[in-house]
Amino acid sequence: MTKLRKIKDVFFKWLFFAATAFGMLSLVVLVVDILYQGLPRLSWEFITNFPSFNPDKAGIKAAILGSVWVIGLTAPMALFLGVATALYLEEYAKKNWFTRLIQTNISNLAGVPSIIYGILGLALFVRAMKLGPSILAGAFTMALLVLPIVVVAAQEAIRAVPQTLRHGAYALGASKWQTIRGIVLPSAAPGILTGMILSLSRAIGETAPLVVVGAFVFVRFAPTDPLDKFTVLPIQIYSWVSQPKAAFHELAASGIIVLLIVLLLMNATAVLLRNKYQKRF
């Protein structure tokens, strides 16, 4: 009996290790393959050149700038709407069936496939509001896409602020807004910021909704205006992958490296922020 138990113990330990190793190994293979293909073409020219039909002259300047523009516009919109919604639900709204309905819907929206947001963006921003396939239309769409994630993250951060701190402020004669402004928001800020960065790193890798909105274009200029046409990093990568020539596939790999670096930096910032402010209460 005992022997069998021991064997089972060892068996399961190695089974779970194998499961972990499988995931890690696939990731390593993927990254090594990308680095092998992409590194040779990764150069300063690659970063500063516009796309070209000649793979030796092609670069991702337009895609980088497009991504920066879209994220730069998405971030403030999502942050403001997300934090305001979270504050309303946590601090102001009465807990009744209606707020529960809103809550359930927000959680559900976080799971809606991103292409659905793209279709919404196409109908609402591109067509109805006549923004065309512009940066602004893309940013609006992205803001909607990440909004549920930001709301939920902000709500959790706000809920984590101890009730005793709010009471402390009220007892000094603070109004509701003074309490939120002076105590709740500063205490919740690291959590909100972490959620914000993680949701933006999702947005920066999104392709489908922006393809639907119309970002899939051959952009040979630096966008200077929110109403300009644009492309973003993952779309540029996708467009290179779908070219027949092998040289373009190598360019795609170089683009993936750039995208991965950006994502890693964003996630690292989020982790650093979290660690820095973790033990505050």
């Binding site: 009465k94 701190l165 009471h167 402390g168 007892a171 004669g173 603070a174 205490s187 505050r280 209460f281």
Partner: protein
């Protein structure tokens, strides 16, 4: 003259009748202790005096509470001004996640003090009044969470004093502290009553006997007996008070 007067004060949590016809007069510059077993309504009553119960849903209050002659439950009363006049210290020390300095200035800033010099003075004065100045004067910019529990509670007292209240409500302020910190705070209260009126809820009967001028005994939402502290502890007129202070229940 009494600075706090309640008349036929009743409080309901939904269907639960938590306070029954409470009539209490509290004198200025005195320490009044509320004692009684858990759930007797003493903390609930304390929170009616600065309207902290407003934040709990389904609370209904009837009767009157007068602070310095003004009925605080009348419509049109500015709750924020009331709470500035009637400060509160809680059971658990609850400093804000800010520096010691910013903890003290938070209140004055709410009420419009912005002058740097004036704020510096308030910080020094409040910390001295709370007997904490000597321990923290060199670390004012350090986070308040670095202080010990007893220091944090004195910081919370200093924070409450910084808005210049007339009355200080204290809800079991030493129950989370060690005996030495408790002794320090008790000593402090004796000094503070020169300037402020103090109402303290306590679980600790010896504490009530040591520091208070008058004691009120609550049981099941009723005010059983309210009298000078020596009378309550040596010669109570109600059998239930006697049973409680001699430790027969509670």
């Amino acid at each position: 003259m009494s600075i706090i007067e309640t008349r036929n004060l009743n409080l309901y949590y939904g269907q639960h009748h938590a306070l029954l016809d409470i009539n209490v007069d509290i004198e200025e510059n005195s320490i009044t202790a509320f004692i009684g077993p858990s759930g007797c309504g003493k903390s609930t009553f304390l929170r009616t005096l600065n309207r902290m119960n407003d934040m709990i849903p389904n609370v209904k209050i009837t009767g009157t509470v007068k602070v310095a002659g003004e009925d605080i439950y009348q419509s049109g009363v500015d709750v924020e001004i009331l709470r500035k006049r009637v400060g509160m210290v809680f059971q658990q020390p609850n400093p804000f996640p800010k520096s010691i300095y910013d903890n003290i200035t938070f209140g004055p800033k709410l009420h419009g003090v912005t002058n740097r010099h004036e704020l510096d003075e308030i910080v020094e004065k409040s910390l001295k009044a709370a007997a904490l100045w000597d321990e923290v004067k060199d670390v004012l910019k350090k986070p308040a969470y670095g202080l010990s529990g007893g220091q944090q509670q004195r910081l919370c007292i200093a924070r409450a004093l910084a808005v210049n209240p007339q009355i200080l409500l204290m809800d079991e302020p030493t129950s989370a502290l060690d005996p030495i910190s408790t002794a320090k705070i008790e000593e402090l209260l004796d000094e503070l009553k020169e300037t402020y009126t103090i109402v303290i809820v306590t679980h600790n009967m010896q504490q009530a006997a040591r520091i208070s001028d008058k004691t009120a005994f609550f049981l099941n939402g009723e005010l059983v007996e309210y009298d000078a502290t020596p009378v309550i502890f040596q010669n109570p007129s109600d059998k239930r008070t006697e049973d409680y202070i001699t430790g027969r229940f509670g």
